[in-house]
């Protein structure tokens, strides 16, 4: 009973945090939706840990709780992979930005040099 209380409260606390972050626009929609979906699965499980016992038996896992742990770890791994993928995309974008910036600066320097040349030949 005590354990159910601890896990259930943790789940609700996380839910509240994520909804509040979304409300304050600190979390982008795509990440927020992901975490909300996770919590909607996790909260019933934290209240009724035996919910998955039948599925566990079917898969040959000793208890529903170890199945949840296993699935949890797989899910966290997937999230890590996803974040690495997002970071790679971001790195590629900043690289493109830096190139654009350097090209612009080269263009401006070239224009300025051309103008100075004109002025000095005039004078």
């Amino acid at each position: 009973m005590k354990l159910t209380l601890v896990t259930g409260l943790t789940g609700l606390l996380l839910l509240g945090t994520i909804v509040e972050l979304l409300r304050r626009r600190q979390l982008r929609e795509k990440y927020g939706m992901l975490w909300l979906a996770v919590l909607i699965i996790v909260i019933p499980l934290s209240l009724f840990p035996r919910l998955l016992d039948n599925v566990a038996e079917l898969l040959g896992v000793a208890s529903g709780v170890s199945l949840v742990l296993f699935l949890g770890i797989v899910f966290l791994l997937l999230v890590c992979v996803h974040l690495s993928w997002e970071v790679s995309a971001l790195e590629e974008e900043t690289r493109t930005l830096a190139e654009d910036f350097a090209l612009l600066r080269a263009q401006i320097d070239a224009d300025r040099a051309a103008r100075d040349e004109l002025v000095s030949t005039d004078g």
Partner: protein
């Protein structure tokens, strides 16, 4: 100038080299004295070159930011260059620039004016989940904005200075955020929104961004974005 107001037409474009020249040409022909800014959102075709040749100013983004990202750039340009009115028009030729003066007229008493399908003019039809999504969005957003809105995802909008100022600092880049969330945000801040019936045409070239298979996902996302917009502040 449209009705004495300095007007900027903002056209977000992604791979629209087939239609952009005609759209820019038509806008400049119908509305002499307006400035046209095409925001090329990382197109892989010659959209930017074609638009510039047709007489538009072109802002080329280094990579794709989505319609919302392109539009915030457009509104920043409008704010920095002191325009009275900024009007968003699609690059595929579906919006008829002859409606622009009507939109600008209504800005005298409103802050954001939307050119809407399904409001009596034209015969643009949608069915299935996409239609349900539109019905849901219209019903909810009409209540939030306290005015009848039938086409909440329309990309044909006119904004006055106050709304330009707001959009230049805040404009969501997320899918559907650029239409649905901006409406909720604008209405909540006390701006007046109005719609004008417009006839929509078939796109001139290129492919539409939505396939029927995606309609169901669209409905789900519309619901999620709407809920989020309503609980946000």
């Amino acid at each position: 100038m449209v009705n004495g107001k300095r007007t900027l037409i903002i056209i977000p474009a992604l791979n629209e080299s087939g239609s952009i020249a005609d759209v820019v040409g038509e806008v400049r022909g119908e509305l002499p004295g307006v400035d046209v800014l095409v925001v090329d959102d990382g197109s892989t075709d010659r959209t930017a070159d074609v638009a510039a040749a047709a007489g538009a100013r072109v802002a080329k983004l280094p990579y794709n930011l989505g319609v919302g990202g392109a539009m915030r750039l457009g509104y920043r340009y409008a704010r920095d260059n002191n325009y009275d009115v900024a009007i968003q028009i699609d690059a595929d030729g579906q919006h008829d620039p002859r409606y622009v003066p009507k939109l600008v007229d209504l800005l005298d008493d409103n802050d954001l004016v939307i050119g809407a399908r399904f409001a009596g003019e034209g015969d643009y039809n949608v069915r299935g989940p996409r239609r349900w999504a539109m019905v849901m969005l219209s019903a909810v957003l009409s209540r939030v904005a306290r005015t009848k809105l039938t086409d909440t995802t329309s990309g044909f909008r006119a904004a006055n200075r106050r709304v330009i100022e707001m959009f230049a600092g805040w404009y969501p880049a997320e899918y559907l955020g650029d239409t649905v969330e901006t409406l909720v945000h604008t209405a909540r801040r006390g701006f007046r929104i109005r719609q004008v019936p417009v006839a929509m045409r078939k796109r001139m070239a290129g492919t539409p961004s939505h396939s029927p298979a995606k309609a169901m996902i669209y409905l789900g996302r519309a619901f999620a974005v709407l809920t989020l917009a309503l609980i946000r502040r």
